[in-house]
């Protein structure tokens, strides 16, 4: 155990970088505000993650129990249990550590070029990103739910600060900076709704298991000893946290708004950190989630619906970053759909003791996790690519781009690779994971009373695959092909080397990461259940097994045909101009088109709910509080004395007024006590 003992360093190194860069960044590195230190720190974490993972896979612990955990008492609860801190290394945390640190490192390198004009504020930027990475890596290595929750919140706080980064002075003016401010607040508050649910879930777990350690909560024996209904309740509440963090329906509205931050931050949030935390949480909690097939069905329904719903909104958006944001929502939905479908089969298999079904279900887990990593690569690539385009043209509106291919060779090719990957073009990374997901969902439809739901979800998922290919290539053709627009003509051309090299590295992974399935690495993404005990890391099924499954399945060819059709349509509509998009949307007048641009009226609904309703209730309660409880004479005295805050306040000091309040309170208390006695049968 040479490296695993030092797992705690993985989040600690970026944390130290955060402190040093945050306080002294501009002092020792004037040009980059301490950016190099932040990159070095994350790079060390990345190398360490790889070493830890390699050591872990070769260790006997991997074969024997499936994890290495170490914990120290953080504080002893008076209730007779301890809250610990420590690390927990298994295949899932290894996976998270490696891809999160690697992609964050590339994003930081890219930031050197992208943020080069930010001057002194780079110090703040790099410090906050380092803290963000700390949050994600800490979350990945935590050994209990409370510690995980703390890092979870740290990430929430960082996202608030980073999305609002341009709120003081946005390069695009005051409107944009106000926009950044409200987007930051929205992200913080909406994800907080999910956090409330998660926190409540943790309390239920604490109540049921008397511990929050993974080793206790995920142990088959302790699960068996706990009331089944409590676990179901806890699972649903914890999934509420994932819904908030991963922006699933109905808490999905904050993510598109979060585009107000710098593009690199979007890449970080969408690819390597933040939204992946929700997927991680569900994957992590498989041992308790699979206690009830209904919970997993719920996960799948939320995921499947979000995948479809978000994809519709990407169809006609003109903002390059927003299209990518909706596609993130949609792809996250795919991940939850895969985990839900797999978990559903495992849950049914565990109930009926069908080991073959459990093994089949674990493929759903593989699909979800593989798609999470694939998505990390291609979404980071696409965001960074769009950042390169924005950097060069100075606009985010795709109507003002066009024909950029000749000016930005590297960007256009790497983004093409990313688009092919996300669209599920054969042999690109996204193809393997997406196809595995579709297959799993269809497979899940054969089992249990709720099987038909999965058939519906499968249909939605196939339609989503078509839409994904269409809107991604709509984006690509609008940006890089077609007629050149003014902003494109004046673009600065290709971005600097620090920006293009990360793009090239990412495009290699966006193309090739899917092949890990065929080199035995699928066991790293899998789970197995031995004697009712969950274990991360599964049996190797080998490449041939997957190849046969893919290419003997007729639906695989149907999906490929749909993807090709979508690309063909997009080409004709946006490059060649043979088909006029207006034919489908009635020149932007059809109700569907309006619904999509208005995001199905979701933002308005939220505003009504949060602002009008929330603030209205607050004002109402305050009115009752200050005018009825605090004395009914207030309004009268205001009317008589005219105006003036002082006058009205002085009137509130009326002795009669206070006396009535006191007596009123006393009467309320008496009534409450009498009611309690009557109700509870005391005395």
């Amino acid at each position: 155990m040479m490296f695993i003992e030092y797992t705690w360093l993985v989040p600690l190194i970026p944390a130290i970088c955060f402190l040093i860069v945050g306080f002294f960044g501009n002092m020792f590195d004037k040009r980059h505000g301490g950016g190099f230190l932040a990159i070095a720190g994350v790079a060390v974490s990345c190398v360490l993650s790889v070493l830890i993972s390699a050591e872990f896979f070769m260790s006997s612990a991997y074969v024997d129990v499936g994890y290495v955990a170490k914990s120290f008492t953080w504080f002893a609860f008076p209730g007779g249990f301890d809250i610990n801190i420590g690390y927990y290394v298994d295949t899932l945390s290894c996976l998270m550590m490696m891809f999160a640190s690697f992609i964050s490192m590339l994003i930081l390198i890219y930031s050197l070029g992208y943020m080069s004009e930010e001057g002194k504020r780079k110090q703040r930027y790099f410090a906050e990103v380092a803290l963000f990475v700390t949050g994600m890596l800490g979350l990945a290595v935590s050994n209990n739910f409370l510690m995980m929750f703390i890092f979870w919140e740290v990430m929430g706080l960082c996202s608030y600060l980073l999305i609002g980064f341009w709120s003081f002075s946005h390069p695009e003016g005051d409107d944009a900076s106000d926009n950044a401010a409200s987007a930051a607040k929205k992200a913080f508050l909406v994800t907080r709704l999910g956090d409330v649910s998660l926190m409540a879930g943790l309390f239920i777990l604490l109540f049921a298991f008397k511990s929050l350690d993974y080793t206790v909560v995920f142990d088959a024996a302790s699960i068996a000893a706990v009331d089944h209904n409590l676990i179901v309740l806890a699972s649903l509440l914890i999934f509420g946290g994932a819904i908030g963090k991963s922006a699933q329906f109905p808490l999905l509205d904050w993510l598109p708004d979060a585009m107000a931050g710098p593009t690199t931050v979007s890449a970080l949030i969408h690819a390597a950190t933040m939204v992946k935390a929700g997927v991680y949480l569900v994957a992590r909690c498989f041992p308790i989630f699979t206690e009830a097939s209904g919970v997993m069905l719920f996960v799948a329904v939320i995921g499947g619906f979000t995948a479809f719903f978000a994809a519709t909104m990407a169809m006609n958006n003109m903002n390059i970053k927003k299209v990518l944001a909706y596609s993130t929502l949609s792809q996250l939905g795919y991940m939850f759909l895969a985990l839900g479908a797999g978990g559903y089969m495992i849950a049914i298999g565990m109930e009926s003791g069908n080991t073959a079904l459990i093994a089949a279900g674990s493929v759903g887990y593989v699909a979800g996790c593989l798609h999470m990593v694939n998505h990390a690569f291609f979404k980071a690539l696409l965001f960074l690519g769009s950042g390169s385009v924005i950097h060069s043209t100075g606009t985010e509106d795709m109507r003002e781009m066009g024909g950029l291919e000749s000016k930005m060779k590297v960007t256009s090719i790497t983004m093409l690779i990313g688009s092919l990957s996300i669209a599920g073009f054969p042999f690109f990374a996204g193809f393997w994971s997406k196809d595995l997901i579709l297959e799993q969902v269809l497979h899940a439809g054969d089992y249990g009373a709720a099987g038909w739901v999965f058939i519906v979800l499968w249909l939605l998922a196939v339609v989503t695959a078509f839409m994904t290919a269409f809107y991604m290539f709509r984006m690509w053709y609008m940006t890089f092909r077609g007629p050149m627009h003014k902003k494109s003509e004046h673009s600065h051309g290709e971005s600097p080397r620090s920006m293009t090299i990360p793009l090239m590295v990412l495009s290699v992974f966006a193309f090739g990461f899917g092949f890990v399935l065929f080199f035995g690495f699928d066991s790293l993404l899998s789970i197995q259940i031995i004697g009712g005990q969950f274990r991360m890391g599964g049996m190797e099924s080998g490449g041939a097994h997957y190849l046969v499954e893919f290419f003997t399945n007729v639906w695989t060819y149907v999906t490929i045909a749909l993807v090709l059709l979508a690309i063909y349509l997009a080409k004709n509509m946006y490059e060649l101009g043979k088909i006029d998009p207006a034919r489908f949307n009635g020149d932007g007048e059809s109700w569907l088109y309006k619904a999509l641009t208005e995001r199905w009226w979701f933002p308005q609904l939220y505003d009504q709910l949060s602002w009008k309703l929330g603030y209205g209730v607050a004002r109402g309660v305050e009115f009752i509080d200050s005018n009825i409880i605090d004395g009914s004479v207030n309004g009268l005295s205001n009317a008589v004395a005219g105006s003036g805050e002082l006058v009205s306040k002085a009137q509130t000091g009326d002795v009669n007024n206070y006396a009535s309040a006191v007596i009123g309170g006393l009467i309320v208390l008496f009534v409450a006590v009498v009611a309690l006695f009557v109700f509870m049968g005391g005395l």
Binding site: W74, A200, G614, R619, I629
Partner: protein
């Protein structure tokens, strides 16, 4: 350290030693100001007396001293820890008062004397084992605070607030006296343990219920629990900010201690008697806690004045601590004590920042805080920490103490109970609501543009006090054991009164 150092000096009076030191200070302050006319000297003397008193208290506390005086005062782990809390409050407030432009300069000696006298009153309550002593202590603290509220420069709001405070205080006193006398009529004793004993033999009667309800109402004013809260925002807004801080973090804690000492002890003792209505009273307190936290948080959303917002948030925080009264377990009491300590630093720190900014001409409206992060990075950051701690964002102290407190609601002494799970959930939900109005201040400070970008320099004493609070909010968050151990001893000591 060995407590004999103190007991050798104070002899029979050892149980009152920290208070005796403070009382000397109370007497000396006006004379000192009259002779020197120097506010720095008076401040130094006040801090010195309070610090000596704190050292005496710490020696007794760490030495594990236990002793009583005339059966009226008893020093134990609980009273020692609570005395420490009041001393911390007095030190923080005493430190900044001289440099605050809001506090009157005319009667500075009297101000300091009254500040110490109010602290002594609170310390009385912390050590009292007799209803009469509790009553006297509460009155000493209250009457001193009425005057403190009025001692503000050039602001008619202060006089108005003081008058309101006096009237409300007088009424709550009247209710309390009524309750105490009725209780005395029923049981014939005023010692808390003796009352608990008598109640166990007599059982629960209507006379006893009426006495309890009037006392709950009377002391409900002190902690500003709904529906006895309406004075708090007016008074906090009207008083000078250091005094508001003192009332929010000091006075309120005194009221909570009264709740713990009288009601908690009595009803827990009563659980051995089947006719005793402990279960009903638990529900009563649960309802009060639920309504108090919800009303406090919801009304806080509508506030535009930051002092009023903090006042409503204090009401909500008292609601959280009242969970202890519903759960009535030792574990919950540990959480309550822990939260009382963290509340001192986060709410106290927030008020101190407001006070410091008033000194440099920044108003009390939340909109006045726009762009503060550029003008005063440290103050803005400290404010962010305090507000997020109040909202319960990890890893700050407010999160950890809320976690202990709320988890007590689902995990009693005897193991997991589902009775109060709803209360824990409501409290979590309330924490989420509270983030909404705290985030508004943070947004104003960090995200909105201010009219001026000039740097601000606030008086040094304020910076020191705020820095102490920042350190405490972080340390108690990541190393809660520092307070959880003593708090567990304190809770055990209070429960041993039964």
């Amino acid at each position: 350290m060995d407590a004999s150092v103190i007991t050798n000096i104070f002899g029979d009076f050892s149980a009152m030693a920290p208070m005796i030191v403070m009382i000397l200070g109370v007497l000396l302050m006006p004379a000192l100001y009259f002779t020197t006319k120097n506010r720095v000297v008076v401040t130094a003397a006040m801090l010195a007396f309070t610090a000596v008193s704190a050292i005496v208290n710490l020696i007794l506390l760490l030495g594990g001293y236990n002793g009583d005086y005339l059966g009226l005062f008893e020093y134990d782990a609980f009273s020692g820890l609570m005395i420490l809390l009041f001393q911390i409050v007095a030190l923080l407030i005493g430190l900044v008062t001289a440099s605050s432009t809001e506090v009157t300069r005319l009667h500075y000696g009297a101000f300091m004397s009254l500040l110490m006298a109010a602290t002594v009153g609170m310390m009385f309550v912390a050590t009292a084992t007799d209803l009469v002593v509790i009553f006297v202590g509460v009155e000493l603290a209250s009457i001193s605070s009425y005057i403190l509220v009025s001692m503000k420069r050039n602001d008619p709001r202060a006089a108005e607030a003081a008058v309101k405070y006096v009237i409300i205080g007088g009424m709550s006193t009247a209710l309390t006296v009524y309750g105490i006398s009725m209780l005395y009529g029923v049981v014939g004793v005023t010692n808390l343990a003796a009352i608990a004993d008598a109640m166990q033999t007599q059982g629960f009667t209507w006379a006893f219920a009426i006495a309890m309800i009037t006392m709950i109402a009377g002391y409900g004013f002190k902690i500003a629990s709904v529906p006895f809260h309406m004075w708090a925002p007016d008074v906090y807004e009207g008083a000078s900010t250091p005094v508001s801080a003192f009332l929010a973090v000091g006075s309120k804690k005194m009221g909570l201690i009264v709740f713990f000492k009288i009601f908690l002890v009595m009803f827990v003792a009563g659980t051995t008697v089947s006719t005793f209505a402990t279960a009903e009273m638990q529900y009563l307190f649960a309802i009060i806690a639920a309504i108090t936290m919800t009303v406090g948080n919801i009304v806080a959303i509508a506030q535009t004045n930051i002092k009023r917002m903090l006042a409503y948030s204090s009401i909500a925080q008292a609601g959280y601590i009242l969970i202890v009264m519903a759960v009535m377990s030792e574990y919950a009491l540990v959480g309550g004590i822990f939260h009382m300590f963290t509340h001192v630093f986060m709410k106290g720190g927030a008020f101190l920042i407001v006070g410091a900014l008033i000194c440099v001409g920044i108003g009390e409206r939340i909109s006045d805080y726009r762009g503060l992060a550029k003008r005063a990075p440290f103050l803005a950051f400290a404010m962010l920490l305090f507000l997020f701690s109040l909202a319960g964002i990890p890893p700050l102290a407010g999160f950890t103490s809320k976690f202990v407190l709320f988890s007590a609601a689902i995990y009693g002494d005897g193991g997991a109970t589902s009775q109060w799970v709803w209360l824990a959930f409501l409290a979590i939900l309330n924490s989420a609501i509270s983030l909404y109005y705290y985030a508004r201040v943070v947004k104003a400070m960090y995200i909105e543009k201010g009219e001026s970008a000039e740097r601000i320099a606030v008086p040094l004493p304020f910076l020191i006090a705020i820095a102490i609070c920042v350190v405490a909010v972080i340390v108690l968050g990541v190393y809660p054991q520092a307070i959880l151990g003593p708090a567990a001893d304190a809770a055990a000591a209070l429960f041993s009164l039964v």
